[in-house]
Symmetry: C2
Subunit: 411 residues, 2 copies
């Protein structure tokens, strides 16, 4: 967690961190600043020191709200720098950052860089800065990183926020289940009180309204994918699609705190009115793996071991998995789990990207999301909850929600 | 516009472009793919060729919806690459991109990189790729760039979308004006029908609901800043603040198409019930500059000339401006205008960052947003509309909305 950063920086042989960009939808920046309307900023943190936030004058009040020490970028008088650089904007910009780093006391050593930016801008600026400040070695950690490692365990304040948004998310899920259960089936299709088919697009509009009512953002949309669409894990669901009774719908919802803070992540698979035996059997297999894994979670274990265990359990039930064939498109085709926090996918990793450092620890928040996919049979099934490994080592489901496959129709 | 890209790439001496990241909230990627649920992708474009999109198998259906030629990243079998690299994830990842570039026919020449990423990941990966592919010169354009130059003029399809979202935005503005006008003033404070003060937070909740009803995202929130808060251009407005009659409120709203497409940007300043003479006079000065600039817009002119003109007009009315003192915190303290499109601030630039290449052209979409700020007097004023320079050279306000300062209270 954040309090581990000085030690982790030492372990990574880093003398300072730099974070570029906005304090909105920018996990590395928001980790230090919270969500505030500060754009095109620079945060500098020397090992063992306090963060220093450079921001533009017209966002000074927003920057002050972070409680961090701040400096005005405007005071560096870019137009004068530009004259000194004979109108070369890129050089003037690099000089601007050179001066800010110098004033932050960062002129030598290993300095890791972070923050959501355009890749070209980041590469260009950091390369240019490297020439202006030859005693600094700029470090781009592109696998895991010191910040991702720190963020991989959460402190009490973070957990409180994550519990809240995951619970708000399940409230919306409950509202939708209630709404769908109050509609009618006509000729095998769900229709509303006016007799119009309920479409995927209409469902997503309701979800967005209910999320907005709770002050949540939904920048990546919602997966609400019926039938064959649900058979491909990340197909979102076509807006014009109607909902057929008995057809499994994969419903994966992942909103974020307004402005880009902590994320929720939650999935259920639903059949409206009834489920076929084939669907129920597939679902029972997913639920068995979900419940088995949930019962086996314990701190200080390798994340990759849970991925292997899930594959083993699915194989015992005669499903193909990524363990035998990484390119399989049927059976269990994805990672079992992932860290959750300021990004919807963060450390620790369980699947393809897992390293020996990816451990489940006290303070981890991870999703558990086994699934089975048979697109040619029109079947996709996934269950996902978010779990916190408490300081006492016990797993806590951040928001309990029923696991029923069938949403009964009341009318 | 996009059709100019091959010629622009030639002008910039670029043989290929690479775009990293998601096809959501990632302007460089969305420019080619549209908004689709494709994550951690790579788009490769050779000069004169067609874009090639590398994506993960479980997002294959979403990727296919782009209409672009696609390849599966999953087929590169990362786990085998990882074995070849003795478990070194960063090297295996760099090799993965090396193979994708090779298969895209990009093995030499000048290659510009784009896409929203973590700055460290981008810098690290591109540096590593540079070692694996020594005949490629990776280019990070960090001032303007070939893509920003292409995006600086819009084609008919883009304009249709921008007109739509700007109009939807003014609909929401109208809904809010109507709502506020139907409340009552009690002891100088606006109260709702239950006698409760209307707060900034409550107003923003309504705005978010009304935006969600139209399928729009609002990832950066809304500025609704009364009194002294409005005196600092980017102060958002404190949620708990109440609305006092006569106090100017800066209302700057900038939603985006769902998933991160085209942005709207629009500002009005309102006084509820009545305005003081001082507020009205200040507003009249802003409105005069707004109307003068709007009447003077013409294609093939330097953007910086409008910034200079606005400063001149404000100075004639005895207001300090950034032209005399770049660090002034009173008077006209910011840029007059900016390009609008897949980012809320894009090319052409008018203020600090304007270069001789920043021209108003046929196809440009820019905001015009003069403002005056006197925070110690509790006064901030800004008017902003989005203007398209049509193919016939005439400016078109993308969404007309009344310029009245005062919102009369009906009760």
């Amino acid at each position: 967690m954040k309090s581990d950063l000085p030690a982790m920086m030492k372990e990574h042989s880093l003398d300072a961190l730099l974070v570029f960009g906005d304090a909105l939808h920018n996990p590395a920046m928001v980790y230090f600043t919270g969500v505030v309307h500060v754009t095109e900023a620079l945060l500098a943190l020397r090992r063992g020191g306090q963060p220093l936030l450079f921001c533009h004058a017209m966002e000074r009040e927003e920057a002050a709200a972070t409680g961090l020490q701040t400096r005005s970028i405007t005071d560096y008088k870019f137009s004068e720098l530009l004259k000194e650089c004979n109108g070369n904007h890129e050089l003037a910009n690099a000089r601007l950052y050179q001066r800010m780093l110098t004033d932050a006391g960062i002129t030598a050593g290993r300095v890791a860089v972070f923050g959501q930016r355009d890749a070209g801008r980041a590469f260009g600026l950091i390369s240019a800065l490297g020439e202006l400040l030859p005693n600094i070695e700029f470090v781009g950690e592109f696998g895991s990183s010191v910040l991702l490692e720190a963020r991989a365990t959460k402190d009490a304040t973070e957990i409180e926020r994550m519990r809240r948004i995951q619970k708000q998310t399940t409230e919306v899920v409950g509202q939708l289940a209630d709404y769908l259960g109050r509609q009618r089936g006509v000729d095998g299709v769900l229709v509303d009180k006016d007799g119009q088919p309920v479409t995927v697009g209409a469902v997503k509009s309701k979800i967005n309204l209910w999320l907005a009512e709770r002050g949540l953002d939904n920048p990546h949309g919602t997966i609400f994918a019926p039938g064959a669409e649900g058979g491909v894990p990340h197909s979102m669901g076509s807006p014009e699609a109607v909902l057929r009774l008995g057809e499994p719908i994969v419903f994966d919802i992942f909103p974020v705190e307004a402005g880009g803070g902590y994320w929720a992540d939650f999935t259920r698979t639903w059949c409206l009115g009834h489920a076929s035996d084939a669907a129920q059997k597939l679902y029972d297999d997913v639920r068995f793996v979900y419940e088995t894994i949930m019962s086996e979670l314990k701190p200080d274990s390798q994340c990759s071991s849970y991925q292997a265990r899930a594959c083993e359990l699915f194989q015992q039930r005669d499903h193909p998995t990524v363990a035998e064939d990484a390119t399989t498109k049927v059976g269990f085709v994805h990672g079992l789990a992932h860290g959750l926090g300021l990004e919807v996918h963060e450390r620790p990793a369980f699947g393809r990207d897992a390293t020996p450092n990816d451990m489940l620890r006290r303070g981890s928040v991870v999703t558990i999301e086994p699934g089975l996919y048979y697109p040619e049979r029109g079947l996709g099934m996934r269950i996902e909850d978010a779990v916190f490994i408490r300081p006492d080592g016990q797993p806590e489901n951040l928001a309990e929600y029923p696991l029923d496959l069938v949403i009964p129709l009341k009318n």
